[in-house]
């Protein structure tokens, strides 16, 4: 009996060992020594050099220095509910890290029983560094190859830079709809499976250094079906693992009645107008909203938006939409369809603020409409933009938009009231933040070694400018008149201490400023970042601290640091004069209250330094401020830009003005109200908001995991490399227009305040009461819980009241 047991154990061990080493099926899970291991798989780390005994491992070329390998577990974040991946996808081995990859390949070798095999390699990663969750790995945009036993088995050729960007941005054109899988829509594409065949008694797999390897499966050719089955099962497990981490927050689901469906079934769809802020795939129109015409009122010379929804009652294929001319009631006047522009919102899975495991499906950004299909039951949101010429005759206009497809045809009535006045353009600066032209995805192409090699001969400078031009045109189109954007490391010091240009920074900035001037004219630009990251960076000027609080506590701002910083600033403004740039407002610092009381002290020292310099050279300074520890720096700034955390109390606003600062506001939300009627309280001279595109977002972002909703501060681009329109920027557009209505009425009230015309005096008095009612209703301290944000509907109703008051004054004039 004992003998039998021993025999059994020996046989079992032999089978197991054979499976692992010289058996027919191999399943390797690559990663760190302690990251999760897929059951039934063999762990491979970066230290597993090939040995005959082990039968697999990393192969090193003789006479060559071995390439250094790294393993990484992407389930690194413990800070919050950040995406965790399953054992196979979460970890990998690569031939480099943190954007540094040698040009050589690395090799993995497996000893096989002589024969024919099929293999599959899972190769994916979603982040490059630990510091930011949305930095994209070079693997995503590099060319690479896989060789098996010296023969090329797979080649990734991404084409030119424009082709790559186009492919990358295609993901932004997709929709996430109810029932879709987060794994398949937002992750799977970044973990491709490369399949190849192997002949002989070994497999030497050669991979470009930037490529990650997560898993390798080798099956005898006869068991090809088993390999496919295993891959399918793996992906299913991954999907379950990923999707189980998130929950969709669905609204209460309603159903259309059978009678309603029947009523509109021949049309195949329902078009409707709705008051809701967002028309999501779940939005069902109320009966009285179905085919209820959508309308808007608009002063001459302005651009307005008619927003409406489409509920497909069946799958609609290849839907063609015909735009109408708007015709006046008497048929004599027309607004041509050339003035119209139809956009369709894409839907994305978006995490709710503060509730990181929940997501909602939101129509977050839109692209111009292209003929396409619609899925039954998934409601979509349309924006029809109308640009009025200044010579349009005031009055009521209407038109009919037509949706046509094989499944049905529907007409939808549109109304437009053209108002007989023009809105003024107040001198307020309206802008969003954006990052310097070099801090884009194009940076890979024009700065990093591998990128330069890969895109050699491509004019990345012109491509960068093309994007900047399109982006700024889009900002201006939304009503913004500046951009809070600064340069990136323009100068440095040579060995003799002379200020010299650093790389191509100045070339890019100069081109940017030319485009800025074309789009925004001579409006002063608040050069965000110039005071700490763009010109006087701590790396260029050690001792002139901005973020290094520890060093500041220890030694303060050093004399040498100040001297060097002054040289750079002088050089910058001398260059500005030579180049004829519009006024560049020097952005001293940003949110120093984040560093507590010492942050406030450092902010004060820096503000004093720049104030002295600004008086000598002749420029204005500003700072964005987010805490009361920054109050002391006010007397040393020309422009104070606080946010709600400053806080924006009436007392602090008075203090800003008392200390001689111009009052601007930043980052109090991108709602319509915060760019519109909120400003009527204190009439700031500027309003900035984060961000049109941020550091990593510009051309580096599409809707995907690991971070749902990380696209919130990014402009999406389509495959033609044209920018999207974001829902929050639409709110900003409307807010700016609300404010212009307010200021237009205020100007009329001022103009006629002493009129002797009784009818006019009455209209002016009523207008003045309306203005006071609006500004009096604004709670200045917007960050205070319960301060309240007025809804779009409230803003629209107030806008109409103002429009009526303006007309009253005009009629009485």
């Amino acid at each position: 009996m004992k003998k039998l047991t021993k025999l059994g154990i020996v046989s079992l061990l032999a089978v197991v060992l054979c499976q692992v080493t010289y058996g027919e099926v191999f399943k390797f899970d690559f990663g760190t020594k302690d990251s999760p291991l897929e059951p039934g798989y063999t762990r491979v780390t970066e230290t597993d050099a090939f040995s005959t005994k082990q039968g697999f491992g990393w192969e090193t070329d003789k006479n060559k220095k071995p390439i250094r390998l790294y393993s990484r577990n992407e389930n690194f974040s413990t800070q919050r509910a950040f995406l965790k991946m399953d054992a196979v996808l979460c970890d990998h081995v690569t031939g480099g890290r943190k954007y540094f990859y040698p040009t050589r390949n690395y090799k993995f070798k497996v000893k096989l029983a002589k024969g024919e095999y099929v293999a599959a390699m899972i190769m994916g990663k979603i982040t490059e560094k630990y510091s930011s969750l949305i930095n994209r790995p070079p693997y995503w945009y590099m060319n690479y190859e896989i060789k098996v036993n010296g023969t090329t088995a797979f080649t990734m050729k991404r084409g030119g830079l424009r082709k790559y960007l186009s492919d990358f941005c295609t993901a932004a054109e997709a929709n996430f709809l109810p029932g879709d899988s987060l794994f398949y829509k937002y992750l799977k594409a970044y973990f491709p499976i490369r399949k190849f065949t192997i002949s002989g008694d070994e497999a030497i797999i050669e991979i470009s250094s930037a490529c990650p390897v997560n898993a390798l499966l080798i099956y005898p050719r006869k068991q090809k079906n088993k390999l496919e089955h295993e891959l399918t099962a793996l992906m299913k497990r991954s999907e379950e693992f990923i999707n189980s981490q998130y929950k969709e927050q669905k609204p209460k689901l309603r159903q259309l009645s059978a009678a309603t469906k029947k009523k509109f079934s021949s049309r195949g769809m329902i078009l409707f107008s709705s008051k809701v802020d967002e028309i999501t795939p779940y939005t069902l129109p109320a009966v009285n909203e179905m085919f209820r015409p959508v309308g808007e009122f608009l002063p001459v010379g302005e651009k307005g938006v008619l927003r409406f929804g489409l509920l497909p009652l069946k799958d609609l294929k290849n839907v063609k939409i015909s735009l109408p001319d708007f015709v006046s009631k008497d048929g004599k006047n027309k607004i041509s369809k050339d003035c119209l522009d139809l956009w369709l919102s894409n839907t994305t899975a978006f995490s709710s603020s503060g509730q990181t495991i929940y997501y909602k499906i939101r129509p977050w950004y839109a692209f111009p409409y292209k003929k396409q299909d619609f899925i039954a039951g998934a409601t979509r949101q349309f924006f029809l933009y109308v640009k009025l010429q200044t010579n349009v005759k005031p009055g009521d206009y209407s038109g009919t938009i037509t949706y046509t497809c094989p499944q049905g045809t529907a007409d939808y009535k549109l109304f437009l009231k053209v108002l007989p006045f023009k809105l003024i353009k107040p001198d307020t600066s309206f802008g969003m933040y954006a990052y310097s032209p070099l801090n884009t995805r194009l940076r890979f192409a024009n700065m990093q070694k591998q990128g330069k090699k890969m895109y050699k001969g491509e004019n990345t400078f012109l491509l960068t400018n093309e994007f900047q031009e399109k982006a700024m045109a889009e900002m201006a189109e939304a009503g913004l008149n500046t951009v809070a954007q600064g340069p990136n490391l323009l100068f440095e010091f040579d060995k003799k201490g002379k200020v010299v240009e650093k790389g191509e920074g100045l070339k890019y900035w100069n081109a940017f400023m030319k485009i800025y001037q074309q789009v925004f004219g001579d409006k002063p630009i608040p050069a965000y970042g110039i005071g700490w990251g763009g010109l006087t960076h701590e790396r260029i000027v050690p001792g002139f601290w901005c973020r290094n609080i520890k060093a500041f506590k220890h030694a303060g701002l050093t004399a040498k640091g100040k001297e060097q910083a002054a040289k750079l600033v002088r050089k910058f403004y001398a260059t500005s004069k030579e180049q004829g740039w519009p006024e560049v407002i020097f952005y001293d610092q940003d949110e120093m209250a984040n560093h507590g009381i010492w942050g406030g002290r450092l902010a004060l020292e820096r503000a004093k330094f720049f104030r002295k310099l600004s008086k000598e050279i002749g420029f204005r300074t500003c700072a964005s401020m987010n805490g009361p520890v920054e109050l002391p720096e006010l007397p040393y700034l020309d422009i104070a830009i606080p946010n709600g955390s400053f806080p924006l109390t009436p007392k602090n606003v008075r203090q800003i003005r008392k200390d001689g600062c111009e009052y601007w506001i930043y980052n109090i939300g991108s709602k319509r109200y915060t760019f519109g009627f909120y400003l009527s309280k204190d009439l700031p001279k500027g309003r900035l908001q984060w961000s049109f595109y941020g550091t990593h977002n510009y051309l580096g972002q599409v809707p995907c995991l690991p971070s749902l909703g990380s696209i919130v501060y990014a402009t999406m681009w389509d495959s033609n490399l044209n920018p999207s329109r974001r829902l929050d920027v639409e709110g900003i557009r409307q807010g700016i227009m609300d404010y212009r209505y307010f200021m237009t009425l205020q100007e009329l009230v001022k103009k006629y305040q002493n009129t002797k015309n009784a009818q006019l005096a009455k209209a002016v008095q009523q207008g003045n009461e309306l203005l006071k009612m609006i500004s009096g209703g604004v709670e200045a301290e917007i960050a205070k819980p319960g301060a309240g944000i007025w809804s779009q509907t409230t803003c629209q109703r107030l806008r109409w009241r103002i429009a009526s008051a303006i007309k009253e004054v005009q009629n009485a004039e």
Binding site: R80, G354, G777, P785, G786
Partner: protein
């Protein structure tokens, strides 16, 4: 003449009760202001100026009687609550008539239990919110040596992990010398230790904490939470996050913390940083700290936690936890003059 006298006496006897029960009405105008309202709770504060019969009160809108909650306050004053049913647009004004008659002043609230619960939820649901109700001779614990507990609460002078340290002076106690509201507050005294370092290599700072009893919370509901804090004897301990914090921890149906490690989701944290505010803003004066948050769908219960990470002495009082209206701004109410009918 005699007959006339008899008639007058009889008449006065007959009419006296009627005269005594004279009826009145008041016009009450409400204004939704700049916010849309959904089933908004309306509160009107009325000074009747005399004793009235609470049972006679009727709120009339378009000839229909509206259910109200009558909450008597100080003499002849009362708060009257009712619901503005359904959705009401912003910038909407409505007028009601409040009718009542003379009678004896009664201090008992009158109205539906549903309205009373609604008022309670929108007023304050923090248990023993001002620490006024105290249980004496409470059971002493290894990490709490006090004698008076705010009823229902659990206090600790320091974390259990430090129980073996000698000469601990950190305390968390009911205090009767400082109060924002009522007679009492909760006092925290910390201790900066020379003999032990924390994980960041700084001197260990011992600080007490307090837990409220568990109470019901609604899912998917926005709550606002505030408290008053007064800092005394503050010493900079070089910590990055020096300050006070009070949180409403979100608990599921099993009364356990939801998503235990996901602090973005599992609490409504309301903190005040002494490291991020100039001393003159908070030192030796009561300061209100407030925040609001919507509860995740799993939430069924809540529990308040108070603690800190500063060195010094701090008083906490007047915790207010309430459901927010949609906008957080109450419907404006204008009460007219009393008119005798």
């Amino acid at each position: 003449m005699k007959l006339t006298k008899i008639f007058l006496v009889t008449a006065s006897l007959l009419f006296c009760p009627l005269l005594k029960a004279a009826t009145y009405h008041i016009s009450i105008k409400i204004d939704t202001g700049f916010f849309e309202r959904k089933n908004a709770l309306i509160k009107a504060e009325v000074n009747f100026g005399k004793t009235i019969d609470a049972k006679s009160i009727k709120l009339i809108k378009d000839g229909k009687k509206i259910p109200i909650l009558f909450m008597p306050q100080k003499k002849y004053n009362a708060e009257i609550y009712w619901i503005l049913p359904g959705e009401t647009p912003s910038l909407t004004i409505k007028e009601y008539t409040l009718k009542f008659a003379d009678g004896a002043w009664d201090t008992t609230p009158i109205g539906s239990a549903e309205l009373q619960e609604r008022v309670q939820n929108e007023t304050n649901i923090a248990p023993n919110h001002s620490f006024e109700i105290v249980t004496e001779k409470a059971k002493k614990k290894t990490n709490w040596k006090g004698t008076k507990l705010p009823t229902g609460w659990v206090l600790a002078d320091f974390a259990w992990a430090h129980r073996k340290l000698p000469d601990i002076t950190a305390t968390c106690r009911i205090d009767e010398t400082e109060a924002y509201d009522g007679q009492k507050s909760l006092e925290f005294k910390s201790q900066l230790r020379d003999d032990k370092k924390d994980k960041n290599g700084r001197k260990l700072n011992l600080f007490g904490f307090a837990f409220s009893p568990v109470f019901p919370l609604k899912p998917d509901t926005e709550y606002s939470f505030s408290y008053q804090v007064k800092f005394v004897d503050i010493i900079n301990n070089d910590g990055k996050h020096q300050g006070m914090s009070a949180s409403v921890n979100f608990l599921g149906k099993d009364k356990k913390r939801i998503y235990p490690k996901n602090y973005a989701m599992n609490r409504l944290q309301t903190a005040y940083s002494t490291a991020r505010n100039p001393k003159e803003a908070y030192f030796k004066k009561w300061h209100k700290v407030e925040y609001r948050k919507k509860t995740p769908p799993e939430v069924r219960f809540g529990q308040i936690w108070i603690g800190g990470s500063l060195t010094g002495r701090v008083y906490i009082d007047n915790l207010i936890l309430k459901e927010c209206g949609k906008s957080g701004n109450p419907v404006k109410v204008k009460v007219g003059k009393i008119i005798t009918q």
